[in-house]
Symmetry: none
Subunit: 256 residues, 2 copies
DNA sequence: GGCACCAAACTTGTCTGACAAGTAGACAAT
DNA sequence: ATTGTCTACTTGTCAGACAAGTTTGGTGCC
């Protein structure tokens, strides 16, 4: 009796139970990535449910990223459960470097987006950026709001990069930073001039993109994000602490 | 030049496309958590597919955690799509630009990692990179293997950047590309010289990092990835199709 | 009028059978 | 030996049906 799975009780959702059973089954058998799963028909018989349920269970495993299917071939183990998606470690912060790492990663991707936008954006993309910029100008005049427009500005630049994956990644990171734009655009931010300073940086980014000057757009974007990080109290990481290393095989080549 | 880019150019599955459409639809309409989605029958008509496809798409959104269903009631928005994690769209490929987008994103982050590594890596980090490089040299001599060392090389550079988030993100992307390094290091790759050419690029990256020349390291990394993408048959995205746009408020300013 | 009850009309969950599309392997023809 | 085809098997998609849960409205009774 290696594993009596047959016949599962009915109360909860059948497909959920089956998908959990299958996941545990994959893990317990230690199926390596690439291993083939039984066919849907066999799984139907093994679990005593219809093919629709099996397909829904497999669909869930696919969404979790630990199973891949190919028409005409079968279903295969893709990766260990939980490895399929990327999640930034924002919560755990043992020595305080996580936030700086996240910010640095964002700075890299966002400045690249600005460069690409300068190279590739068309009139409608530029218009969207300009609209967000105008909203922030208005917020500056009325001393009220502007955080949403700030979001829209960065999103518009990401979209103008023409790279949907890049856009999605920045949208994801932007959500993690949603709270960090508030200190710029709340009452204190307006009064202290943080909003005005931020907007000046935005104008530089926009202007570089409009001119199609990719290098300038990247520089302006980097400057903006570094200034923003300072406004937030995040120290930027050290930029230069490298010393030229000896050539291979002299002192450190023995250690893998 | 092998045009089949294993794993990336699979035909789009209907259910995947529908789930993406639905996710975008939820986001664009700004449906708040708790809002009810159309019934499955309505979605069938709207997307012109069968209920099985709709159910599979909803199942994926359920697994992603942004939709909940209750029997007899309907489907509801649970949270904003993609709030908790990031996943690259490798499967869906309607117009063939997804693979290029993913590659471009990777190129951006990886070349930045090389620059940072050049600035910040210490002796032990450099040793790890050198070890992977040496393994590939050996693979080149024996005409056997090298894919694992290739992985290790890029991972070591990512680690040497000193940014753990960046390292994790590249590790995640590396998993998505695991199959794409095979054509370089298999028998055909060794014979055709792809392996040797790739290794020459690796040496340039390593040398720039050792010298602490960040700009050169970034250039070499970019060149390596672009060459790799060409070896894989992925055309790089256009680098320059921008025309300088008029100033705001003239011709296109009316459209948001 | 107000209240308990029930039936009808939704919804999603599950089942069944069928066909289309893609793949690998056998097999015959060249 | 190579090529083309054919077959068996896989997943993908479709259609229709019934079961199970929820809401809604009516119906009869008080």
């Amino acid at each position: 009796m290696p594993m009596q799975v047959t016949q599962i009780d009915r109360p909860a959702r059948l497909s959920d139970r089956v998908s959990r059973e299958m996941e545990a089954w994959i893990r317990e058998l230690g199926l390596a990535p690439g291993a083939q799963l039984p066919t849907e028909k066999e799984l139907c018989e093994r679990f005593g449910v219809s093919r629709a349920v099996i397909r829904e269970a497999i669909s869930r495993l696919k969404a979790e990223g630990c199973v891949e299917t190919r028409q005409g071939l079968g279903a295969f183990v893709a990766a260990l459960p939980g490895e399929g998606s990327f999640r930034l470690d924002l919560d755990i912060d043992p020595d305080g470097t996580e936030a700086e790492d996240v910010f640095e990663l964002r700075c890299i991707v966002e400045s690249a987006a600005a460069e690409l936008a300068a190279r590739r954006c068309g009139p409608q993309g530029l218009a969207r950026i300009a609209a967000a910029l105008a909203q922030m100008e208005e917020a500056l005049l009325t001393n009220d709001g502007g955080a949403a427009a700030d979001d829209a500005f960065h999103q518009a630049i990401a979209a103008a990069s023409g790279n949907r994956q890049l856009e999605r990644f920045l949208a994801y990171m932007g959500r993690q930073f949603s709270a960090s734009r508030l200190p710029t655009w709340d009452d204190a931010g307006h009064r202290s001039g943080r909003a005005a300073q931020s907007q000046a940086e935005h104008r530089q980014i926009f202007d570089a993109i409009r001119r199609g000057d990719a290098a300038a757009a990247g520089r302006a974007s980097r400057a903006h994000l570094e200034a923003a990080s300072q406004r937030l109290g995040i120290r930027p990481r050290a930029r230069q602490d490298h010393v030229i290393q000896p050539l291979a095989g002299e002192t450190w080549g023995d250690r893998a």
